[in-house]
């Protein structure tokens, strides 16, 4: 039997343990794909969407219903006014149309303007009724549907989920794994051998980087097959950014694990680290939705520059050289937590 170098022996042992846990394989490799599929379907760009609207009961409601029955994209329903309000409140309808004084030419539109569907339904209904009664459009226009790959929600989502996978993988694969080894006194046992701390850390890190490759490849391949998500940027640049991201979150995992002595402690710390970033950093929606004053702070979090860089490379086809600030922040997150982690790390107990 050949004797391996310590780093490759640790890497190999970690890889073996990893592939022998089917549940980890599922979470790391297939869960992100499942999320892409579910979210991609839920938020697909729909054509010919129909909007439900309610007509409140009145002497003229029959004639209104008849007029609306020819409106494109409108599905009218007849209800008592009170019942319609309940339906509007619970989101079952988008709009209530009520004649003001028994006349079909004097209408109240009741809707919530902050709901995108409501506003669209109101405009569709109003346009249709106005035209029926003789309004003439003054300019000619035609609608051309834009749905090119790169601009859809699923395109936005893929780089976000890629980055999320790197975050979860680093924290679980390094942070949780180290605390587990500490609890089992395996870490202490290893420290009683000539294995050095750097061998251990490099081996853990190397195994993490190797797990990550299929994670990225599977996600990108499935997105391409199912949703035609394409890569506009340079592959090598993407690989470099992914590597930096993987190192960044492995190092944060190391910091989280530096002193924790129970799985509860490390799980709690990991949630403290990950939960804010799930919502703030733009995995599922752009952080531009948060007040502008918060943007400089959000951009300093470890996940934001990774997502921003991946989107710039994958969707916009930008060059890695345009990503200076992002790479700088990520490098900072690779170095500072590492130094702190080594300083406070519990090796022997």
């Amino acid at each position: 039997m050949k004797t391996l170098s310590p780093i490759s022996a640790i890497t190999l042992a970690r890889l073996r343990e990893f592939i022998r846990r089917p549940e980890t394989l599922f979470w790391v490799y297939f869960f992100p794909v499942l999320m892409i599929v579910v979210l991609g379907i839920a938020f697909r760009n729909q054509t010919a969407e129909k909007f439900d609207v309610d007509v409140a009961k009145s002497p003229v409601s029959e004639s209104l219903l008849e007029k609306l029955s020819t409106a494109p994209q409108i599905r009218p329903h007849l209800f008592e006014a009170a019942e319609s309000r309940a339906r509007l409140r619970t989101g079952k309808t988008n709009l209530i149309i009520a004649p003001k004084s028994g006349s079909a030419n004097d209408l109240d539109y009741t809707f919530d303007p902050t709901r995108p569907g409501s506003l669209t339904a109101r405009n569709l209904v109003d346009d249709h009724l106005q035209r029926l009664l003789g309004r003439v459009d003054v300019i000619q226009s035609e609608n051309i549907r834009f749905a090119e790959p790169g601009g859809r929600y699923v395109d936005f989502l893929v780089p976000g989920l890629l980055a999320m996978g790197l975050m979860g993988g680093g924290l679980w694969g390094i942070g949780f794994a180290i605390v587990d080894m500490r609890i089992r006194k395996l870490l202490k046992r290893l420290m009683a051998t000539p294995m050095t701390r750097s061998h251990f850390l490099l081996g853990m890190m190397a195994s993490r980087l190797i797990f990550m490759v299929p994670q990225i490849v599977i996600l990108l391949l499935f997105s391409y097959w199912i949703f035609d998500v394409r890569i506009y940027g340079n592959w090598l640049s993407i690989l470099i950014v992914v590597l930096i991201g993987a190192v960044e979150f492995s190092v944060i995992g190391l910091l989280v694990a530096a002193r924790a002595q129970t799985l509860e402690t490390v799980s709690g710390l990991m949630n403290v680290v990950m939960l804010p970033m799930y919502t703030l950093c733009g995995i599922f929606f752009s952080y531009e939705r948060f007040p502008a004053i918060s943007h400089p702070f959000i951009k300093l979090l470890p996940l934001t520059p990774l997502i921003d860089s991946l989107r710039a490379l994958i969707l916009d086809g930008k060059s890695i050289f345009s990503l200076g600030p992002e790479l700088l922040i990520m490098s900072g997150w690779c170095v500072v937590p590492f130094v702190v982690a080594l300083w406070i790390f519990r090796w022997n107990d």
């Binding site: 004797t3 640790i10 022998r20 846990r21 046992r189 290893l190 000539p194």
Partner: protein, 319 residues
């Protein structure tokens, strides 16, 4: 030649409120090729001492040298020459026995291959079994094998048989004995006195952070002055019993009243026994039970502290 281990005035105090003085100034030396036993109840400071010697803890004061080398200066060199089996290490469950040993082998410059390590602890048949499928005894033998892969000169075994069934315990003993025949130096901690008597050339008895006796097991037992223990009980209320007829028995060294009877330590049981039975018969007292045995290290511990080793197990923490 330097001794394998030289410890002088070693002290370890754990910070806390109040501070715990786990080791309160101990000295001992272990010669090359010796099997040295560290005995004592839980909380006596055995594990703290062994972990200082393994380089896993730093002493509060005093020195501990391995082959004349000091931790903190020659740590890397010492680690290449020692093999360690800790209390309660759980090795990776989803690695096989062979893979685990290859991993540990990779850390040493020289050593034996995984196959040979498995042979020495009779685990060849389990080479491809995951660690989680092993029995307690097999896991412990694997733990010993991880201590052997670097072909160390000095092996530390911290309570290698605690919690094992008698068969597994005997298998570990055989491994330790074979290591002794190969000329390895072994430091082993245990709270089983019979284990120490069987395996160790010399033992140190620890109690409350100090060494209260040191020497070859036979010499320590001999130091009791009498090597035979007679335990008996009678069909009579112990409180109404006049024990002077026991106290005047020939070659008597110790006399203790136990919960259900008496224990006496004597030099010449073949003289004592007939006389004891005669004396009792004259008082028309019948024996309810009678056993005789050789004195053990347990009796040495009782003789030194007035306590039993096992009494301590529940009430004191392991450290």
């Amino acid at each position: 030649m330097q001794p394998a281990i030289r410890v002088s005035n070693l002290v370890k105090t754990y910070r806390g409120k109040p501070p715990v003085e786990a080791v309160r100034g101990i000295d001992f030396e272990i010669q090359n090729g010796e099997c040295y036993g560290v005995l004592g109840p839980n909380g006596a400071g055995k594990t703290t001492t062994i972990e200082i010697l393994e380089g896993l803890l730093t002493a509060s004061s005093g020195t501990a040298e391995i082959f004349g080398l000091k931790w903190g200066v020659h740590g890397a060199a010492i680690r290449q020459r020692i093999g360690v089996s800790l209390q309660e290490t759980q090795l990776s469950e989803r690695l096989t026995v062979g893979e685990t040993l290859q991993l540990f082998r990779s850390f040493y410059k020289t050593g034996i291959d995984a196959q040979e390590a498995m042979r020495r602890v009779s685990l060849e048949e389990k080479a491809n079994a995951w660690v989680k499928t092993l029995s307690g005894g097999q896991k412990q033998r694997l733990a010993v094998a991880t201590a052997l892969v670097g072909e160390p000169d000095l092996i530390f075994l911290d309570e290698p048989t605690t919690g094992l069934d008698p068969t597994s315990r005997r298998q570990i003993w055989e491994i330790v004995e074979s290591l002794g025949r190969e000329g390895k130096t072994i430091l082993l901690t245990t709270h089983y006195m019979e284990e120490a008597e069987r395996l160790c050339d010399r033992v140190a008895i620890f109690d409350q952070g100090r060494i209260i006796a040191e020497g070859a097991p036979a010499d320590l037992i001999h130091s009791l002055g009498a090597e035979h223990i007679i335990e008996f009980s009678i069909d009579r209320d112990l409180n109404q019993f006049d024990d002077s007829l026991i106290r005047r028995l020939p070659t008597l060294e110790r006399f203790e009243q136990l919960a259900g009877g008496f224990r006496i330590t004597v030099g010449q049981p073949h003289i004592v026994l007939p006389e004891l039975i005669n004396n009792l018969a004259q008082q028309q007292i019948a024996l309810a039970s009678l056993t005789t045995r050789h004195a053990s290290l347990e009796d040495v511990f009782v003789g030194l502290t007035g306590r039993h080793l096992t009494d301590q197990n529940q009430s004191r923490n392991s450290s």
